[in-house]
Symmetry: C2
Subunit: 364 residues, 2 copies
């Protein structure tokens, strides 16, 4: 079978940097090889730079972004803890579910899909929650939630932020805002294939972690014994070395460009895309001021050509142009398209191509 | 920094097939792309061939081998269940720990590290266990445990087998023996980098699975909704596409060679290695008849040159020859070396090189 090549403009994965492809093809090293440990430590240091944190516990969890979510919650949510969860999309729903499986008393604070969460409502939801959890960039709706405002009023609570789609693409200041735990994925704005979950945890969260969480694989006390290696490294699990090479390379590209330059590039591409979609007469789901530049939700027009549902439009884009865009999920299934412009995909040429291709397919 | 290249003869990772390196560098596809889904389904079909099973639930778990262990246990161990665990090495210990974290009543059946488990002792340990769990190929000791014999007497219990180091390297018959759940890793005899955990689960285990396991990430009911896709695929998490490409390619190489030919190749290399070590006057840990060909534990000789501990021997092999071998773990730390000959590493040239290099370093 011929090897397909795509312009990945869905909700992730996005295209990867050429340096990342080269890194994936590096000869495999042992997980205790001095050369690998050097690269792993440098990867953690680079993650600190993109998370904007000095947290010692900053590392790639050996699973996808959802493993990062589970690692974040399973290590600090004790059975019976009150966990306030902001729910305005699929990934907020997921945080509530993962917290509930840890035995938390989950207090849901909702907003309609497509609208931002109200930070005050999250802070008022319970007088003394153990954790307040919310998604920074809701991949299901294209909405940005105000993590900084929640951190400002958190009091004794730990703030857990899902930054899967935000890290590297829009401003995120883990230490500056006071986020206690943030986790992400590699396949969005970092330009690396899916498979690792960058995670950072501050001292307040570390001090409250469970001695023996339900998950052994995601037990960050044990994982840190290998990755951070203070006082000698203790084997936990075999690190996914090729994916670590890839992440190391992707972060290198990003930091050579400059973190703020990367935010700026994502912003420019997103504005160009959103302007172009609106000029085509299409309507954006997320309200102005709360839109993510890197992930745009646009309503499926009601005047599609006959026999041509929204899935058919995506199919034609994929087959004719090799462009992938995403459909809606959950309550937005069939109602929106999700167009990502993240990582190596976030270039003007891709936006121009997508807009022209979509105009042709829609006959606009 | 120059890119290091190694002959990986530790307990894993092993060297990867050239076809795997090429597959890692393939352009990334979306996790719902028809081309990716075709490759994913073919990967599952190839896994059925190497596990020797018709189990519909056969897939790569999105984590390393230890995630496979956790997925196997977290989906079928209900709180309070009796789980009999065979413990004769580090990975048996780990199974006991993971089962305990699920709230199991763990019944340990031990054998000294370096000796095989007694299948009869496992079967007699409790009158009606829910699960009997054991490691097929103990990576910490080089010992093979008799999974087939345990399956023969399992009765109503489910047998969970850790086949991380055995899959593709020595005989394993999931359906033929009656193993209910087996999981593995990619970085041993499959010749693929670490990062995925092939897993297979039969109907008896599926019928007893928890509706809502503590782990959302490893909830095989949800994972299967995406991977096996009966009745439309439900998004669960973003598949680690590049690692799936790699596994697909590695399994392709293995099946083109032939599964039994691969067992034969691992056996031949292991015998050559073990004969050569003994001819050098070194002593093997595992008793004859229970030795794994693909993972050999050899006692560190007492007459090492002055100032040259066992770690120094490994360091010199790595620096002078680019050969990695492993040290001992747990109660065997400092007492044995672990020499793997798995996957693409399992070639006569590597055995010859290792034997000559070790003879030189040891002055034998």
């Amino acid at each position: 079978m011929a090897i397909g090549e795509r312009v990945l403009m869905g909700p992730g994965p996005s295209n990867v940097y050429p340096e990342v492809t080269a890194a994936l093809a590096r000869p495999v090293l042992g997980h205790l090889d001095p050369e690998f440990l050097f690269l792993l430590e440098e990867t953690c240091e680079r993650l600190r730079a993109v998370f904007r944190t000095a947290n010692r516990l900053t590392l790639p969890v050996s699973g996808t972004g959802s493993a990062g979510m589970e690692a974040a919650l399973v290590n600090v949510v004790h059975a019976g803890d009150v966990v306030v969860v902001g729910v305005n999309g699929l990934f907020g729903e997921r945080m509530a579910e993962v917290a509930a499986r840890q035995g938390a008393e989950v207090v849901r604070v909702e907003a309609p899909w497509g609208e931002p969460l109200d930070p005050e409502a999250l802070l008022r939801a319970h007088p003394s929650p153990a954790v307040i959890a919310l998604v920074h960039a809701e991949t299901s709706t294209g909405v940005r939630n105000d993590v900084a405002a929640v951190c400002l009023g958190k009091g004794e609570a730990l703030v857990v932020a899902d930054t899967v789609t935000s890290l590297g693409g829009v401003e995120l200041e883990v230490d500056g805002w006071g986020v206690d735990i943030a986790y992400s994925g590699t396949q969005k704005c970092l330009g690396v294939p899916p498979g690792l979950a960058p995670l950072t945890m501050g001292e307040r969260a570390w001090a409250r972690r469970l001695e023996r969480p339900a998950s052994w694989y995601l037990d960050l006390g044990l994982v840190a014994g290998y990755v951070t290696g203070a006082g000698g490294r203790t084997y936990h699990h075999t690190a996914p070395v090729s994916m670590v090479f890839a992440l190391h390379a992707g972060l290198g590209v990003l930091l050579q460009e400059g973190l703020e330059q990367s935010w700026h590039r994502h912003l420019g591409c997103g504005q160009m895309l959103q302007d172009g979609l609106q000029a085509m007469g299409l309507e954006l789901l997320a309200p102005e001021g709360h839109r993510l530049p890197q992930l745009t939700t646009v309503r499926v027009p009601e005047d599609l050509p006959p026999h041509s549902g929204e899935a058919e439009v995506r199919r034609v884009l994929l087959e004719r142009y090799g462009i992938e865009i995403g459909g809606g999920v959950g309550s937005l299934a069939g109602k929106v398209w999700r167009i990502g412009c993240m990582g190596h995909t976030a270039r003007r040429a891709n936006v121009t191509l997508l807009l022209a291709a979509l105009a042709e397919v829609l006959g606009r």
